[in-house]
Amino acid sequence: MFSKIKRSLIALAVFGIAMQSCSKDELLELRPEFSLDALENPSSMDQVEQVLQGAYARFRITALPDRTLTSYFSSGSGTGSGWALMPDVMSDNLYETNETLANSRVMADWLYQPNTDQIEDMYAAPYTVIAAANIVLRDVDKFTTADNQKRANRIKGQALAIRAVAHFDLFRYFAPRYDRNSTSDLAVAYIKEFLVSTSNQPARLNNKEFYDNLFADLTAAQTLLADVDAAINPASKPSRPYIDLAGVYAIQARAYLYAQQWNEAITAATNAINLRPLASQSAFAGMYTEANAGEIIWNIQFESGQSGPTYLIYFPAQQRSYFRPAPEVADATGLVGLIKTNDVRYDTYFSEVNSNISSGLALDKYRGKGTQTDGAANFIAFKTGEMYLIRAEARARSNQEGLALQDLNALRAARITGYVPAVGLSGDALLTAIAQERRKELIGEGHRFFDLKRTTRTIQRGSTCGDVQVSPSGACTLGPNAREWALPIPEVVIRANPKTVQNPGY
């Protein structure tokens, strides 16, 4: 009997150990080992600065729980590139070729609806950038001391500039009109707080409120970035991946141009030009292959293996062009279009690439760095050439036509070999010349759709449109009253946020 009890006790001990071998905390209180717990982080100035890096990274790509967004400056397979090449695709700068797999036909031919996937991604991407910037702005002051004040300025100033430029990019697509002081036109919500909650339902601001917020952020950024601890962009590199003071001036210049505040636009452009003079012709070509920083004010940085902006229109390794430059801008002869072979932009932007089913120029300036064809080219968001054109336009529209023509000639002289300065241009002819130069300078850099939107509000596609041997696209004109000038607010957003108002016509 005794041995039986002993055996039972041993058995109980064995089973007891088996039951108690793991503690409750060990099992249930598991923490991620490969990511940061956002309940308690960022918890230092270093981590705040790392979140700022995350905000920049989101200009490139954003990993959301359900999908990855490549809709800002990077591209998917025939999609994305929302603020890099899409405004050219949606305008008369590029035409769809027969090599297309029609992945962005819905955008190119203005067929988008509130439920179009690409519209949702284009709405989401800038707000993901803003969210990261807002985390920085929420936490940077917590770790600011007298000793690191200048570092804090550097971080905070960039975060404000990032927040401003991302909002402005949303505004460019989703606002029906750009009028500075309109209180009836709807802009987009201006978000200054990172708040995860289903009850967070921001409302769209009107244009005036929107611009006020935008310029307030830019002014604050300008002040902060004038007083920093270290250079934001290293001088030694052929790339300027961060927004520094020149970047803030450039954003201001572009925004004031849209707002038609000519004097402010002229001042901001001048400030930017003073910090970054125009590049020589040899330096200019190197800006697109990361050989020379040239006149880059701010570029989105792409590394090998990261998908740059090109794949919306051109696959450099396979040399497949879904879209090609309109022959009115440049053609394979180099003699007919706006950009001719004597222009540094011709060889920098284009190459002749033929296939069995489509021929002509490819817009291949984003083929890769150096001699690579991996599509990991940087995207130049702001460069001095645009600053000259902004200043020229602002001057031309504010009775300073002589100075305007001077700016135009200075830019052309920098780009065109043997350029003879134009004289005597004024009035509409001057404005047309500036607009044409914008088209030449900024093709494939995300401007044409917006430039037409803020000026003529008419798109008339050129000779390729409707010719099925050349292009499958059938949509050739967009009139001034078309609803498509403003992208629709995505259906999911309208559904989730009752305070958001849909754009007219959708």
Partner: protein, 991 residues
């Protein structure tokens, strides 16, 4: 154990007692399927107390009156009755009579008649014999309420198994798999040998799955591996050899001459000269023949079983080599298993260990990329070839070099379509999988109280995958970085430990059986890998990688790594009470704590109750002699689903980001500290019956499964936080249905028998409640009152004969040429509400012939594969023959609109033109076998021998235009690797 011995000797005693007045019967009992002898069969003289037990060779000897009847019964087999003769060789059929049948739930073994649960035991011989690389494929049509759909025919690919419908919209619907008491990954079946399976039980209702608490919502599949049988060591060798083929292709494409004519009609885009066109018309290259093959399958298994009364073992070695029907694809598998069970005094302990290694070579599928060979065979023009006969090398007619890119057009055909043969033969993609499953148990029977014992069961499930994916520098995707090799390793280590105190005793009419349990499950996953570039030295393995630096940054390798953990801590009880053999009540209560849920919602309680009424035990049924069995079961209870769509950590998370070579952080998960389980409430009402000496038996179950607190991410405005949705628990989903299983012995005699059995399930899936109703996503919609996977399209109304424009039905039924997404309507679901299987078996002497037909009815799917070859914009590549009927001139009556988009005739794909009836009937299996008689075998000193030939999927009836309609999901996206048509010859010998 001791009591059993006593019974045995009593039996022998009776034998001796009746010896003088009887006929001496000798004989042998074998398994009807493979002719292996069955040891331990109880042979009883009917209406008497005489009995004996077969020895290790299956032989027995008994004295019986010449006009008597002997009853042969054994656990795991259907009992058989035979009139007495002097030599009796009896073959028993696997499967049990309901009266003594025991079901294994993973935690308990309980007699079916005492348990209210809806549990289907699948005939393990069916699973063992079918030559699938992944055993779950063999479950198709075997059990009511269980939908098994092969999404892929790649050797080793898992099936999509759904038990009683989809209960989760966003979470996982994968059942829980339990092997020998521990949880195993529902993924690595390619490295499990189903030849080792003894039993497979499918737990469906609340009282069965409730035992698994927060893991039970999607049903549970309980696998028990083979146990050793005491007696002399028995050796078995099983082999199968055969071949697999491509099913009929129902998506018909143009041949060379049709395609050339079509191109010429569309304006000759390539500018073929008349001579070129004439020459190309005659090419008619078969891309299918170039890429597909007849695959050879080999399968061998050697197993041994034996032991003493106190120690038994089972051991096996197996090898499988299955070539896929796409060249270069296949599965090679090696497994070994040892199962040992011991009894020493009051202790019992045992160990089950399986180790396996497999190598799976595959090709990409299920996507729409042009470089996937399985898309490319559809899209490559039939006048192009894999090899250019002019050069003898890969055909690369897309070549148009320029000074800036001398390698342009490389790897592509004229249209820019990558050459599928290059993509298949120059690239590779394989996984080496190591799988180890080990479980051990220790049981102590307390000597001072009969029926009380403690048990602890611990096991590990280890799965490791080593992956390689290579893109050659010569193919279209490899050009940009001179080839790419991605290598990675991942492993999942999970342990499960269950400890319990159990008690089982009868007190007069009262039966009590129950246990208190505690359990831990912890899983740990790690992965790392790299991708290298720059394959310039001719090697295609790691040696070929050029390590990049600043000067050739394009070759800088990419490295990565990740990991996660989750665990579960549970306390539960299972209690069973019976009265007088008539009434049984089962109570299950469980409390689970999971690391996967919000800190505020770590623990949850689940419970269920089941009641059984054995009607035949009632006095008023005494005279109902037609009945052999009549039982009513009812159960109700809750269980949960913890397979969330948001991963293992429900907290807000900052994930790594990089920009310009600098690491940063970005918010990657919104988190929700109140995140919790999906809860199922399932009611089940069942009836089991048997008539006419059990010649007709069956089971009917009615169920209503309601899932609440669905994992549902609430959409929010991206403006607020950059997130488009925040995870939460909202909404209700219902699955309700009827399951019927019937088995009938049409004819039964000594030499000839014929039986038919079948099961059919009707499952109605309905979304009951959503935070936001009717959310469309391109071709589907989530709407209250409709199934989860409902198609949502504009109805196609043919072609206007006057203009050639496509026409559509507006919502109000009017015909219009204007396509408008507002005209979409809800049309049907891809999850077949009706499905099942019907099988029949004929036995004549040693021969047996069986056939099984499975069906999935009333389902529709979107055919994106058809869409991609119907879009006239893709006329540079090959197209469907439907386009030969294109509208050409006013007055043409056709269903295919003109190809041009001008004048409001843009090609529209979200229409019913591409929705097709995806119902199908298929002859799943046919087997013809022969068991050699003992008389021949004994001369050859062989214990048993069986040969058979079987076929899989020989015949399929469907209207769906593709290789195969057997797919899950709402759409055939593209690059389909169809289920195989297989024929194998098998041999099974026992020594």
């Amino acid at each position: 154990m001791r009591r059993l011995k006593l019974l045995l000797s009593t039996g022998l005693l009776f034998c001796v007692q009746f010896l003088w007045a009887q006929v001496q019967v000798t004989g042998r009992v074998t398994d009807q399927k493979d002719g292996t002898p069955i040891a331990g069969v109880t042979v009883t003289l009917k209406n008497a107390q005489t009995s004996t037990i077969t020895n290790a060779e299956g032989s027995f000897s008994i004295s019986a009156p010449a006009n008597g009847t002997l009853v042969f019964s054994s656990v795991g087999y259907q009992s058989a009755e035979r009139p007495v003769s002097s030599v009796m060789n009896v073959a028993l059929t696997a499967g049990e009579t309901a009266m003594t049948e025991v079901v294994v739930t993973g935690y308990t073994n309980i007699q079916r008649r005492k348990f209210a649960a809806a549990i289907t035991s699948v005939n393990s011989t069916e699973i063992r014999k079918q030559p699938f690389g992944s055993f779950d494929q063999a479950l198709q049509g075997q059990a009511s309420g269980v939908s098994v759909v092969a999404n892929s025919g790649q050797p080793g690919a898992n099936a999509v198994v759904r038990i009683r419908g989809n209960g989760s919209i966003n979470g996982s619907n994968i059942p829980l798999y339990i092997m020998d008491g521990i949880e195993i990954s529902a993924a690595d079946f390619a490295t499990l040998n189903q030849g080792d399976f003894e039993r497979v039980e499918i737990l469906k209702d609340a009282v069965a799955t409730g035992m698994y608490g927060s893991r039970g919502a999607n049903g549970v599949i309980v696998i028990s591996t083979r146990k050793g049988r005491s007696g002399q060591i028995q050796l078995n060798y099983d082999a199968q050899v055969g071949f697999s083929d491509l099913p009929k292709d129902r998506l018909e494409l143009m041949n060379s001459s049709q395609k050339i004519d079509y191109e010429l009609r569309r304006g000759n885009p390539y500018g073929w000269s008349t001579a070129e066109a004439d020459s190309l018309r005659n090419v008619n290259f078969s891309w299918r023949d170039a890429l597909f093959q007849t695959g050879v399958t080999h399968q061998h298994q050697l197993s041994a079983s034996g032991g003493s009364q106190t120690s038994r073992f089972y051991a096996s070695l197996s090898y499988m080599n299955q070539e896929g029907i796409v060249k270069t694809t296949g599965l090679k598998r090696y497994t070994a298993r040892v199962n040992v069970d011991n009894t020493i005094k009051s202790w019992r302990f045992g160990l089950n260990v399986q180790g396996g290694f497999s190598k799976i070579s595959r090709t990409a599928e299920g996507e729409t990329y042009t470089n996937q060979p399985l898309n490319a065979i559809r899209w490559a023009n039939p006048y192009e070839r894999d090899i250019d006969p002019r050069t003898g090398t890969w055909q690369q007619t897309g070549f148009a070099p320029t000074p800036t890119s001398p390698r342009a057009g490389q790897g592509t055909l004229t249209s820019g379509q990558p050459n599928p043969a290059m993509e298949l033969f120059l690239n590779y993609n394989w996984t080496n999988q190591i799988k180890g499953i080990a479980t051990s148990y220790l049981e102590f029977h307390f000597p001072f109280l009969q029926g009380l014992y403690a048990r602890t069961n611990w096991g590990i499930d280890y799965g490791q995958n080593e992956l390689a994916e290579f893109s050659s520098p010569e193919v279209s995707t490899g050009i940009s970085r001179q080839g790419a090799l991605s290598r990675s390793m991942n492993r999942t280590f999970r342990y499960t430990g269950t400890t319990s105190l159990n008690y089982k005793q009868n007190f007069g009419d009262h039966e009590i059986e129950g246990g208190l349990f505690t359990e831990v499950v912890k899983s740990d996953y790690r992965t790392f890998g790299f991708t290298g570039y720059g394959f310039t030295n001719g090697f295609t393995n790691e040696t070929g990688i050029t390590a990049g630096s600043a000067t050739n940054s394009n070759y800088i390798p990419v490295v990565n790594g990740n990991g996660r953990q989750n665990s579960l801590l549970s306390y539960f009880t299972i209690l069973n009470y019976g009265y007088s053999g008539k009434y049984y009540v089962t109570l299950v209560g469980r409390r689970d704590g999971s690391s996967r849920f919000g800190v505020n919602r770590r623990f949850a309680n689940f419970g269920s109750v089941g009641v059984t009424w054995n009607v035949l035990q009632e006095n008023f049924m005494k005279n109902a002699t037609a009945f052999n069995e009549l039982r009513v079961r009812a159960s109700y209870g809750t269980n949960g689903n913890q397979l969330t769509p948001i991963g293992d950590y429900p907290i807000p998370i900052l994930g790594r980001a990089t920009y310009g070579g600098v690491t940063g952080w970005q918010p990657t998960q919104p988190g929700n500290l109140d995140y919790t389980w999906e809860t199922n409430k399932t009611a089940n009402l069942g009836l089991d019956f048997g008539f006419f000496g059990r010649r007709l038996t069956g089971t009917v179950d009615f169920y209503d499964r309601r899932t609440t607190n669905l994992f549902y991410s609430r959409p929010v405005d991206y403006a607020g936080s950059g997130f488009g949705e925040i995870p939460g628990n909202f909404g209700t989903l219902r699955n309700r249905g009827v399951e019927l299983m019937l088995r009938g012995d049409v004819f039964r005699s000594r030499d000839f028998s014929w039986s038919i059995q079948g099961n059919v399930t009707y499952n109605q899936n309905r979304v009951m409640d959503l935070p936001e109703d009717s959310i469309p996503t391109s071709t589907t919609i989530l709407a209250e009152g409709f199934p989860v996977n409902s198609l949502f399209l504009v109805r196609y109304a043919g072609v206007n004969p006057a203009t050639g424009n496509a026409q559509y039905y507006a919502r109000d039924g009017k015909i219009t040429e204007v396509f408008n997404t507002d005209d979409k309507i809800i049309l049907g679901t891809s999850d077949a509400p009706w499905y099942g299987g019907i099988s029949t078996t004929v036995n004549y002497k040693g021969f047996d012939l069986s056939a099984q037909v499975n069906f999935f009815l009333n389902r529709v799917m979107y055919n994106n594969d058809l869409n991609n070859v119907t879009n006239p914009g893709y006329y540079w590549d090959n197209l469907s023959v439907h386009l030969l009927n294109e509208w050409r001139q006013p007055g043409d009556i056709t269903n295919v609109p003109r190809p041009t988009s001008s004048g409001g005739n843009a090609y529209q794909d979200e229409t019913t033109r591409f929705m097709q009836d995806a119902s199908f009937w298929r002859l799943r299996n046919v087997t013809l076998g022969y068991n050699f008689p003992v008389s021949i075998l004994s001369r050859a000193k062989v214990r048993s021998a069986r040969i058979f030939v079987q076929g899989q999927n020989w015949w399929t009836a469907t209207k769906f235009e593709s290789f195969d309609p057997e797919m899950s999901g709402t759409s055939l996206v593209g690059a389909q690797y169809p289920a195989l048509i297989q024929t194998t010859v098998g041999l099974s010998i026992g020594f």
